[in-house]
Amino acid sequence: MQTASSPAPLLAARGLSVGLVNRHGAFLATKRVSLAVDRGQSLGLLGESGCGKSITLRALLGLVPHPGEIVGGSVTWKGRDWRSLSKSEIRRIRGKDIAMIFQDPASCLNPVFTIGDQVTETLRLKLSLKAKAARELARDLLDQVGIPAPEERLRLYPHQLSGGMRQRVMIAMAIATEPDLLLADEPTTALDVTIQDQILTLLAGLKERNRMAMILVSHDVGVVAQNCDLIAVMYAGHIVEWGPTYDVLRTPRHPYTRGLLAAIPRLEVSGGRRPLQTIAGAPPTPGELPEGCPFRLRCSSARAECATIPVTLDHKPPGHGSACPIVT
């Protein structure tokens, strides 16, 4: 494991494999994923759609949708294995110690209850507050996350708020308990760019103030670069590169990461137009992963031995790992 700090990190996954079921049958959505975050640290899970980053995030909270399940590896919270915890202990940790926000704030709030009902329900359950105290705290929280006229907003229904406001409500509920860890699944993807920036700034401020750790799932390199201390690059269910944000972005080691970074469009004042670089081919369909390195069919540096090598991160200082033994 790559975190050099404490022996028992806040949250760690070791060799996590998650099995899912779709129309074609069962398949592995993630393969032997290992990661860890410490208090106050932020980790960005970067990857294309379908690479298994969102399902990894759910697995960390024990929320793999039925009939999928964790088929291998373990998740530990403050050194305790999820599997050793009772259902009620898990329910207590969820929403109190670990909070989660989602990609689409439009569908994460129950459409038939007011904002006030939903925020206070969470506060009453997770903080054992009485109705009146919950209402007051709800108003304060909405104020904290930058929602104007919170008293009136509490009386509205989700459909009466904008997307940005709804995401703020989700964040308000998530931070109400001052969680140690916030899991954020593409929290700004459904929002337009200016709102996206406001939400990310809000999250960064809250993280700073509460020494909250954060795992941010995104397909947007820029979002991860600005908000995360560490980056884990995922491809086809594997973490293929791991390291401090600065190192990974400045000296990417894995061919996939290099391709990904090269594919970012740049605004250039001089030098004329250059065609946008792309990675040839498409990611493999889940369930049809090739043997060996999952990226080898699209990789320009691929060799014959790539078909047999195991996908494991090497570890080079400063904690910068790549799953490619060919390109170094």
């Binding site: 909270l61 929320l63 949708p65 898990i90 329910r91 207590r92 940790i93 969820r94 929403g95 109190k96 909070a99 989660m100 989602f102 689409d104 569908s107 994460c108 709030l109 129950n110 459409p111 038939v112 209850f113 007011t114 969470t122 359950l125 997770k126 229904y157 459909h159 989700m170 509920m173 899991l183």
Partner: protein
């Protein structure tokens, strides 16, 4: 928009529909080929008798006048006299409507009490044994013709066990309820699978919604999620089907009414058609139309109560 404003608007929307229903009911008598009065009285009636009936029904006046007279009388629930029973139609229909409404309300209650818990069980245990058993049993209940179910119920509960009367209506409230129980169960068993299936389907859909996942991520218990968050979001499809069926059952429970000799609207309608008692048919057409409109209005109102987005 407030609930009251929503209700007011829906009520206003119902008025043109109700007018069209009155036109349809009014035309019943004129859709008869030839002279309605003669058809009603049969070929052996004297010309004098036919003329008397024509005047009695107002058939000698212009059509528009006839319609307006009909409309005015209908507002006072005055539909003239039954040709067969020779008494005013209003009280006849009203007395029977009470029994029909009581029967259907009772049947709806029974089917809801069965369907909602079973649908919840089916949805959370979907594709597992409990779900298969529930679905197989309710499909079986649905496949049984109502009169057959009714007869089986009578055989077991009335004749063998003597729990309930075989037919007729009791006088005291309790006896009345007892005599409506088996008919209500017969109808309820037909209605249950329809409600159960639509509720099960929307429960499964709602269980996959992101707000359910978000509630789990906040550490909410499954019971709270199911009963508070999922159920309310899933009731609309079932209520739609319920509304359609209530309209249908008020007039369509005739077989069950006959098996149990309950003087309801369905048996009145069949008798009126057989006896060519046209004024009664006209009155019933209007009543059934109004019942369907009213049932749909109530369904609309319940949508708005359940889902604030519909009030917009």
């Amino acid at each position: 928009m407030s609930l009251i404003a929503f209700a007011g608007r829906r009520l206003a929307q119902a008025i043109p529909v109700l007018l069209i229903i009155t036109v349809a009911a009014f035309s019943v008598i004129h859709l008869v080929p030839g002279d309605p009065a003669r058809v009603m009285l049969g070929s052996r009636a004297t010309d004098e008798a036919v003329q008397v009936l024509r005047e009695q029904l107002g058939l000698d006046k212009p059509l528009v006048t006839q319609y307006l007279d009909f409309l005015k009388a209908a507002m006072r629930l005055d539909f003239g006299d039954s040709l067969f029973q020779r008494t005013a139609i209003g009280p006849i229909v009203a007395a029977r409507a009470v029994h029909s409404l009581a029967l259907v309300a009772y049947a709806v209650l029974i089917s809801l009490v069965i369907a909602v818990p079973l649908a919840l069980l089916s949805a959370i245990r979907r594709n597992l044994l409990a779900d298969h058993v529930v679905r197989a049993l309710t499909t079986l209940a649905f496949c049984m013709p109502s009169f057959w179910t009714a007869l089986l119920l009578v055989l077991l509960f009335s004749i063998r066990l003597k729990f309930f009367p075989t037919s007729g209506l009791g006088d005291s409230p309790l006896a009345y309820l007892a005599s409506l129980t088996l008919p209500a169960v017969s109808i309820g068993l037909y209605l249950t699978p329809i409600l159960l299936r639509s509720l099960r389907a929307s429960l499964i859909q709602t269980l996959g919604a992101e707000f359910v996942e978000a509630a789990r991520a906040r550490g909410f218990g499954e019971a709270r999620i199911l009963f508070k968050h999922v159920l309310r979001n899933s009731l609309i499809a079932m209520l739609t089907i319920l509304g359609i069926n209530v309209g249908f059952l008020i007039s369509g429970a005739v077989i069950v009414e006959n098996v149990f000799s309950i003087p309801g609207l369905g048996s009145l309608m069949v008798a009126a058609i057989v006896q060519r008692d046209y004024p009664v048919i006209v009155a019933l057409t209007l009543v059934f139309g109004v019942v369907v409109v009213a049932a749909n209005f109530l369904v609309d109102l319940s949508y708005a109560l359940l889902d604030p987005r519909i009030r917009q």
